[in-house]
């Protein structure tokens, strides 16, 4: 056997993990700081959590963001599943290469470009068809669905690629037509992937600042937009509290998702 994990490797990997987590832990600690001066420790306190929940601007924005994230994650899950299915299960057709390009490009496309291009599209559409009238929740949902769709498609595609295709052949052989085959066999088997794609979309939508800034209208500031406008001016203790809550919520969800996925995988094989 190779003694592959030498102390040097462990040390450098350990340094990497410290690098990943130190800022987050510092942020969480500071959120319980009594002092207004963020970096001076003034004792433990939940004061800033109270301030946070009394801040109407933040609460409103959080509500808008949650709504947008729910709708766009759901839309993206449906469209992304279709796209992933088409890419991995349908025989070659004209436009398949184009579709696969359109699905992967949004993953790396700089957000400023996506945001700008969608805004210009919405403006052009409004002057041509009168829809969407102005910009707000609808336009943000469309924009978020578009880039989240790509993430769902990639997750679903990789799950389908690892799924034993003979399962689907067996169902056909037993008399299942394409539609019932999809709903009875394929969909249940890829549902963990769709679920994790949905969760990913939800958090990505909840987190997006740049694209939302381009395509939102007045009075429709999302949570990241409010956070950004605040932290631009410096570190504020309420945002520390907000960050702690969000990180906590996401951590619980992710750990739960990983545990569920692991159990599913153990049952269903690769």
């Amino acid at each position: 056997m190779i003694k592959g994990n030498s102390w040097a490797l462990k040390l450098s990997a350990g340094f990497g993990f410290v690098f990943l987590y130190a800022p987050i832990i510092a942020l969480i600690l500071y959120s319980f700081n009594e002092s207004k001066l963020v970096t001076v420790w003034g004792g433990w306190s939940l004061k800033w959590y109270g301030e946070l929940f009394r801040n109407e601007q933040i609460m409103n924005a959080a509500w808008i963001s949650l709504k947008i994230a729910l709708i766009s994650a759901t839309l993206a899950a449906v469209l992304g599943t279709l796209a992933g299915f088409v890419l991995s299960r349908m025989r070659k057709f004209r436009g398949k290469t184009i579709l696969s390009g359109w699905v992967t490009a949004p993953l790396v496309m700089p957000e400023v470009i996506t945001g700008l291009s969608l805004l210009l599209l919405f403006v052009a559409m409004e002057s041509m068809f009168g829809w969407p009238a102005g910009r707000g929740t609808t336009t943000i949902v469309i924009a978020h669905t578009t880039f989240c769709l790509a993430y769902v498609a990639v997750v679903v595609q990789s799950r389908l690629a690892s799924l034993d295709e003979t399962l689907e052949e067996a169902a056909m052989d037993l008399g299942a037509k394409p539609v019932s085959l999809f709903f009875l066999i394929t969909l249940p088997l890829i549902s963990p992937a769709i679920l994790s794609g949905w969760l990913l979309s939800f958090t990505l939508s909840l987190d997006d600042l740049v694209i939302a800034s381009f395509v939102s209208g007045p009075g429709n500031s999302t949570l990241p937009m409010v956070i950004f406008s605040k932290v631009r001016l410096g570190v504020t203790p309420e945002i520390n509290a907000l960050a702690t809550l969000m990180i906590l919520a996401v951590s619980v969800a992710v750990v739960a998702a990983i545990v569920i996925m692991r159990r599913q995988n153990r049952f269903q094989g690769p």
Partner: protein, 312 residues
């Protein structure tokens, strides 16, 4: 026997059924995501390109129409200007912004690889339980808010932040350093936020790699370090390419990190585009900036797609 009468009927029936089951359904399934992406991903680029050929105007929307219709003479003129592009190339400022974006993204990608590789390697070599735990630890920050993770560094890097405090208390420095609002802070921010994108593809290729290959190399007389260079590294190439591109391409157009961690002199093209659009309201010029950025990034994007095909 019964062979002669049956076939023609049954083939016709099955053809009809197959048309319904495969033809129309298949077409619908393909068209839904295809149309959505065409409308909201592809066509927007055409719109951006169109507007980049217009002139800025004080109007709603703030750019000149591409086709001008003269109602008196029933005469249409196509008004196309390359002025925005000429302006981009003539002005030192934009050229510098592009180059500095590429430099910052490149340097950050290199450091992300340097930090990410040992982590990915360690995870790939761990036992099943440790592997899941470590992998979750890498994925977890990836799920938490990008904006808040950048923000976390602001508190650490401030003049009176934790990093300066610690360095002063152990006597490394006497005066607090200006770390926030420097290029260094931007590198740090990019490496930090994009690290999971580097680690995951690296891990995927390293995990697939057969351990006995390294054993074989060592058995044939290669010292561990040489075995690593001659076997591990070449085999990890697809993962390295994918990881680097996943960091490099979005980093080039990054806005949030230079805006929060960088100084006023940190020049990045994403920030330039943002300012051009939101502060100067020069939509055509912002569009031209976007189009040129897209052209610069087409190469790396293609490279990544081909690299991915190799990896699969």
């Amino acid at each position: 026997m019964m062979a002669t009468s049956a076939p023609s009927d049954s083939t016709r029936l099955s053809l009809m059924q197959r048309f319904r089951a495969l033809g129309l359904g298949r077409w619908l399934v393909i068209m839904m995501p295809m149309l959505w992406l065409a409308a909201f991903f592809f066509i927007p680029f055409l719109v951006v390109f169109k507007i980049s050929l217009a002139e800025a105007m004080i109007s709603v929307p703030p750019y000149s129409p591409l086709i001008e219709w003269d109602p008196n003479n029933a005469y249409a003129t196509l008004k196309v200007t390359f002025g925005n592009y000429l302006f981009l190339f003539e002005s030192r400022f934009y050229l510098d912004a592009y180059l500095s974006s590429l430099r910052i993204a490149g340097i950050s990608t290199f450091f992300a690889l340097l930090i990410g590789f040992p982590i990915a390697y360690l995870i790939a070599r761990s036992g099943p339980t440790a592997r899941t735990v470590l992998l979750s630890l890498v994925i977890l920050p990836f799920w938490t808010s990008f904006l808040l993770r950048v923000y976390a560094w602001m508190a650490l890097l401030k003049k009176n932040g934790l990093v300066n405090d610690v360095m002063m208390s152990i006597g490394l420095i006497d005066q607090p350093l200006q770390i926030l609002q420097t290029d260094f802070a931007v590198y740090l921010g990019i490496v930090y936020t994009y690290l999971p994108f580097m680690i995951l593809p690296l891990y995927t290729t390293l995990e697939k790699m057969d351990l006995s290959l390294i054993e074989a190399a060592q058995d044939l007389g290669a010292k561990p370090w040489r075995a690593f260079c001659l076997v591990t590294l070449p085999l990890a190439k697809p993962g390295i390419i994918a990881g680097c591109m996943l960091v490099f391409i979005p980093a080039v157009g990054e806005y949030v990190i230079p805006a929060l961690l960088g100084g006023s002199d940190t020049l990045m093209i994403g920030r330039v585009l943002w300012d051009e659009f939101f502060l100067n309201r020069d939509w055509p010029l912002a569009s031209a900036v976007a189009i040129v950025m897209l052209i610069v990034l087409v190469g790396p994007i293609m490279f990544m797609r081909n690299g991915n095909k190799e990896a699969l």
